[in-house]
Amino acid sequence: MSNIHVAGARTLPFTGLATLPIVLIGAAISIAGFLLTILRPKPSRSV
């Protein structure tokens, strides 16, 4: 990923870490897990 093309322009060597997407994924997974933990399934109606 040394020369990424952004809008047609060649970039200088990539030496970083874009943490925002990882933070968003981590947060989404955590929230989903939290909701699954606290929410109870609706009781099924008996006919």
Binding site: S2, G16, G26, I29, A32
Partner: protein, 231 residues
């Protein structure tokens, strides 16, 4: 079942967030293990290369100032660098970069591809987009390094100040550069490699730490050279 899945996801998500936190605070520990191993391999290769050069009949000279009196040393190094250029290929060790101010002492690898930079700081070559000179051969010498992952060689590059020394210990000699300027540029700003009347060293790294939108660039100027390698 549902609760177990929820707990598993919660743990995974928090682990990811924890990893980001640790990486931003101290650097990624996982990729650093890989780079540490690669550095040991490169070290052995560089030792062999150094032995080839130390057995050459060229007499070693002491480290002297890069003024008019060093014209001979400069010429010897320039010739050696030219010869050495035929021996380096993508991924091979080039020399050692030592920056006392930030406690850096690592082997520089040839090239700046993702694969090269996993091994250590990388020297811009043709595959980088713009080929830069080997240290001591005049022109512009550029090196890129990671800031958060892969042993994060340039993590503290922002702490460099004008007057700080950067040493490049090559198999054919030792070069000393003195930092004179630092700036933040857009990731597409290749003017950092513009030539100057003197030999210019350019250190580049992503900026800020949690992003890759910009690059932090440190400029240094050749201040001394010796035909004696300190490897």
């Amino acid at each position: 079942m549902r609760r177990k899945l929820g707990l598993a996801l919660l743990t995974l998500g928090l682990a990811l967030l924890g990893w980001v936190g640790v990486t931003l605070l101290w650097g990624d520990p996982i990729t650093s293990l890989y780079t540490a191993h690669e550095q040991r391999v490169l070290g052995r290769q560089l030792e062999q290369e150094q032995q080839l050069w130390s057995t050459s009949p060229v007499r070693a000279r002491a480290l002297v100032d890069a003024s008019a009196t060093t014209a001979t040393a400069a010429q010897v190094i320039r010739n050696r660098a030219r010869r050495f250029a035929h021996r380096v290929h993508d991924g091979t060790p080039l020399g050692r970069i030592v920056i006392p101010r930030i406690g850096l002492n690592m082997i520089v690898v040839e090239g700046t591809t993702e694969r090269d930079l996993r091994k250590g700081p990388g020297h811009y070559n043709a595959a980088s987009g713009v080929a830069t000179a080997l240290p001591g051969s005049g022109g512009v010498v550029a090196i890129a390094g990671h800031r958060t992952t892969f042993l994060h060689p340039f993590r503290h590059v922002d702490q460099l100040r004008p007057g700080d020394n950067v040493y490049l210990e090559m198999p054919y000699g030792t070069l000393r550069y003195r930092v004179y300027f630092q700036k933040i540029v857009a990731s597409t700003d290749w003017s950092i490699l513009d030539r100057r009347p003197y030999e210019k060293l350019v250190l580049s790294a992503c900026h800020p730490l949690y992003s890759a939108t910009h690059r932090i660039i440190t400029f240094a100027r050749l201040a001394g050279e010796s035909t004696k390698s300190r490897l």
